[in-house]
Structures are given as C-alpha cells and as structure tokens.
C-alpha cells in the first residue's frame, strides 16, 4: 500500500489520475485513504451521513484490475467521491437528511451514481444535508438529521446548505469531489461559505433519476471540486439525456477547454453596487479585489442589472407548492413533525393550502422572467456577482436574520440565485478571498448550456489566483 502524503487529499482529478497511471498509487490506496479520512474527520464537521468505505474498496479493486488490463475509462477512473444523501444507492440507507426518513432504503441506484460507477469512480460515502434539502425554508443550521454542518474554516460557523456535507468534504480534503443538488442556492451557498469550486449545471443537463425531488422544474445536480477544471471533468461524466427524468434536456456535455472562446471576446455583466454597497464590511475588500482580478482577464466588463421581477416570491411559491405535494404523505401521516426545524414543518403544512391560482401566477410570471433573463444574456455572455454578500454565519444564528442596515437602492444582480434558478441557468462558484478567516466567493452565471464558457472564465481566474488551493486549518 502506497503512503499518501497530505497533498494527495487536496490534489485535483488530473493529478490523481496521473498518480494512478504512473502506478504511484492504486485505486485501492485512494479508496482506503479517503474512506478512512472521511470516516475519521467527517463527523467532526457533521459532514458524513453514511460511510461506504467497504463498498468503495470493492469498486476500487475492480478498477485496479481494469487498469492492470489496460482498460482505461477516463479521468475519474479510480478517483473516490462522495454523494449528497438525497441520491439513492441500492440497498443503502438514504435519509434525505431527515429523521422521518432515517431508515429509508431504495433498491436502485440514482442515475449519477450509475454514471460515476461506470466511469470507475468509487463512492466512499453519503454526505450530510439539510433535511429535505431545505424544503420551503428553514431557520436554523441544525435543520439536519446529522446536526449543523460545521465549516472546516471555523467549526463555530455554518457550512451553508443544503448540500452541506458535499461542500465540507471537498473543503477539508475528505473526498476529491462530491455531488450535491440545488433547487435555489443549495450548491452555490455552501460552496461559497466553504471555499470550494462548484458548478450548478443547466436545468435538465444532469439526470435526477433516483434523487429526492423538491421542486420538479427547479431541481439540479452538480459537482463540488477543487477547481473549475475538475468541475468540467465531473460534469462531462454525469451529464446526459435520460428518459427516466421527465425534465431531462436530452443533451450531453463535453468539457472542451481547448475550444474556449478568448477572454477578449467575452462580455461580462456586473453591477458595481454588488461589490461596493451590498457586501458586508468584512467581505467587501476581498470581493472588490476579485472584481479587479476578473477585469484583468481581458473580457469586456459591462454594467448591467437584472430585469425587475419578484424572483424571491416567484420561487418561494413554486417550491412551497411543489415541496408540499412531494411530501404530502409525510405531512398527512404526521411524521413531518419529526423534522428538526419548526419553520420547515410549518412551511410544508402551509404549502398545501396555497391555491392553484397563486401557483399559476408564479409559473406565468416565471415565463416572463425567463424570457427577460434570456434577452439579457443576449447582451452579455456571463453575469458576475458575489456568491454571498458575507461570510458564513455562526452555527446557532437564526438564518432569517437580516443585516440591520439600510438596503442599497440599486439591486444590481443580487437576486441572481433565484433568478438564475428560475431561468434554468448554469452557475459557477469560485473562491475569491477571505473575510477574516472565512472564505468568500464569486458567482458566474450564463445562458443555458454555456457551461464551457463559465468554466473557461473560472479556469482563467484560477490561473491568476490561488484561493481555490487554500486549505482550512487542522486538516493536513
């Protein structure tokens, strides 16, 4: 068994793949090392839902046999990963982060689990999440079967959610990459708070077969990684049409950095107020510095703003109704009261009472908002805004507390998370500095199916900065 240095736990996919091909390590070495690390350090951050090290070891042995026979499958072959605990794995407990589902077992694998298995990536563990992926809203970080996701940069701070464990595990070097999900902010928020790179793909690009539904026209699955390049490699593997997912776009994705457009040909839309007025004081310097780095890439920077729609209420109405419908059996049985967060319990119950007329209003205004967003993205290639306006909140802080200061008049691009999700747009979260000891991030968003453009900008940004390479304290 090869002795793996601490740098291995933070290595990118290409480097791990190189090590495997050069026989500096075997897939078994990696599965054992990451599996044990996840089992040892994962609970420290409440990141682990279910260890699957033995399963991963079996997979890894098969991968090593393949490599020995010269059967090379691709860059993820032999690279371990973790998956948010809303993805079913045949015969294994899938809790959806919720006490009422604590013993739930499915007899089939989710599509992304199947695809990653076919690519030769061993699954070392299921990762913790906010219960029911946040449902219609929650008040406390503790809204999870496994407790509050603790931020690897400061365990007294929240990791963000709902893909808490996915972000933590990558940030702390417990897995080389992880799969999470987003309905509205559940990939981008934990990625920003934990300082990892993550991609929310275009709606329909990655099959959701076998994933817990929350909102049928909003749910998406995507990767958490150490770099934009790694996100491209993972997305290429997990994307693709699937008749089992009614929302599938029927599209594949090929990561093609070699064909990326030149930065000088791109137009990046941003709003100055997003960087000067909206961020909290601690995050502002890092975000402004990141904006300057982004300017230096050579793209044309264009001041812009989002079309004026009530994105928040639109998405709130849709998620509330969809979630109440999805979890109606849970509500009807009374088991909903076993959830940890009172606000989520109440939101699910109240969601059943929303009239169809309100839902239809939301879905019709959404159509107009989508059209307006697509028109905006005819003028610019990429929208740029802070990932979050401040660093991770304290672990016991109510999440619905708003800053006690005047709101800037210019909304800029600040509602980009709900707006981008309503329009099915892809988005990339890039670590871009620190507020004190806590990471802050940029969000890049683009028109549907422009992942390669976002990844190219992300890769260029990461070639000029090293924020994505920073390691939290105490993780080796």
């Amino acid at each position: 068994m090869a002795e793996l240095g601490s740098e291995t736990f933070f290595a990118g996919i290409a480097e791990l793949n190189r090590m495997l091909r050069a026989k500096e390590a075997t897939a078994l070495d990696l599965a054992r090392a990451f599996g044990r690390r996840l089992e040892t350090l994962g609970p420290r951050y409440n990141a682990l839902a279910l260890p699957l090290t033995e399963r991963a070891i079996r997979q890894a042995k098969a991968v090593d046999a393949e490599i020995k026979r010269g059967r090379l499958r691709g860059p993820l072959q032999g690279v371990p990963y973790g998956a948010k605990d809303l993805l079913s794995v045949a015969g294994q407990i899938t809790t959806w982060g919720a006490r009422p589902c604590a013993s739930q077992v499915f007899d089939y694998d989710a599509a992304v689990i199947q695809k990653l298995e076919s690519a030769g990536a061993p699954l070392v563990g299921k990762l913790a999440m906010v219960e029911l992926a946040g449902g219609p809203g929650y008040r406390y970080a503790a809204a999870s079967l496994t407790g509050p996701g603790r931020n690897p940069w400061d365990r007294s701070r929240w990791s963000g959610g709902s893909s808490s464990g996915s972000a933590i595990a990558v940030a702390a070097g417990l897995v080389p990459f992880a799969i999470g999900s987003e309905t509205s902010g559940s990939i981008l928020t934990p990625a920003a708070f934990c300082g990892v790179t993550a991609l929310r793909p275009t709606y329909g690009l990655v099959s959701r077969y076998g994933a817990m539904p929350l909102s049928w026209t909003l749910d998406k699955l995507g990767p958490f990684c150490h770099s934009a390049e790694d996100c491209g490699l993972v997305l290429e593997t997990i994307a693709g049409g699937d008749h089992r997912d009614p929302g599938s776009a029927g599209k594949s994705f090929y990561y093609t950095p070699q064909y990326a457009r030149k930065m000088s040909e791109l137009r990046i839309g941003f709003a100055p107020a997003d960087f000067s007025e909206w961020p909290d004081d601690a995050a502002r310097p890092a975000l402004q510095q990141a904006l300057e780095t982004m300017r230096s890439l050579g793209a044309t920077m264009v001041e812009t703003r989002l079309p004026d729609f009530p994105y928040g209420p639109i998405i709130s109405a849709i998620i509330s109704v969809d979630a109440a419908s999805v979890f109606e059996p849970l509500i009807a049985s009374g088991k909903v009261d076993e959830l940890a967060d009172q606000k989520q319990i109440a939101g699910l119950k109240a969601g059943l009472e929303i009239p169809a007329s309100i839902y239809l209003k939301a879905m019709r205004v959404r159509r107009l908002a989508q059209e307006a967003m697509h028109k905006l993205l005819g003028d610019v290639d990429v929208l740029l805004t802070p990932g979050r306006l401040g660093p991770a909140p304290k672990i016991d802080e109510p999440l619905d507390v708003r800053p006690d200061r005047p709101r800037p008049k210019d909304a800029g691009l600040t509602p980009l998370i709900p707006a981008g999700n309503l329009a099915g747009m892809p988005a990339l979260s890039l670590p871009c500095g620190f507020a004190g000891n806590l990471p802050v991030a940029l969000q890049l968003a683009g028109a549907p199916l422009t992942e390669n453009t976002l990844l190219a900008v992300g890769k260029e940004f990461q070639s000029r900065s090293d924020w994505h390479k920073r390691r939290p304290p105490g993780v080796g």
Partner: protein, 91 residues
C-alpha cells in the same frame, strides 16, 4: 436541538410576513441574499415564533404576502392570456 428566542416582540402579522419573506424568498437561499428589487424591504427581523401554531400562522402570512406580491407583478406586467405557465420548462 433548535434554539428559539423567547423574547416577546409585538408585531402585526403583516409586519411579520414582510420580515420573514426576505429570508424565505428563495427557499434554500440563506441570509444575505436580498430579495428582488420589487420586494418590500423587511423593516427588521422579528423574533421567531415560539410555538408550532405561531410558526404555521407565520408561514400562512408569508404565503399571503407572496400571493399579493405575485398579483402586483401580474398587474404590472399586464401578462397576456397566451403566456402559459412554465410547466413544460426547458432551459
């Protein structure tokens, strides 16, 4: 175990809904993401309801506020009858 603030705060249901709306605007979006420009600003953050019944009423009030905001948006945009709901949604 979830913590709750027991301090009583006097506030109308409408004020409560306005304050809570911002945080719940995007269900999974935690704090510091502001609501859309047309969303009324939260006056301040109230104490969390301390009982399940209070939570349920707050959720209902929030839904009512959402409904009113959507109705205003429909009126402002003068949505033509041919605009269909985004059920067959493809990005």
């Amino acid at each position: 175990m979830k913590k709750q603030n027991p301090a009583p705060v006097r506030m109308t249901r409408r004020q409560m809904a306005g304050a809570i709306l911002a945080s719940a605007a995007a269900a999974q979006t935690p704090p510091s993401t502001p609501a859309a420009p047309s969303t009324p600003a939260a006056p301040s953050t109230p104490a969390a309801p301390s009982t399940p019944a209070g939570e349920l009423q707050a959720a209902r009030d929030q839904n009512q506020h959402t409904a009113e905001t959507l109705a205003k948006a429909m009126a402002k945009a003068q949505v033509p009858m041919e605009v269909e709901p985004a059920f067959h949604f493809s990005a």
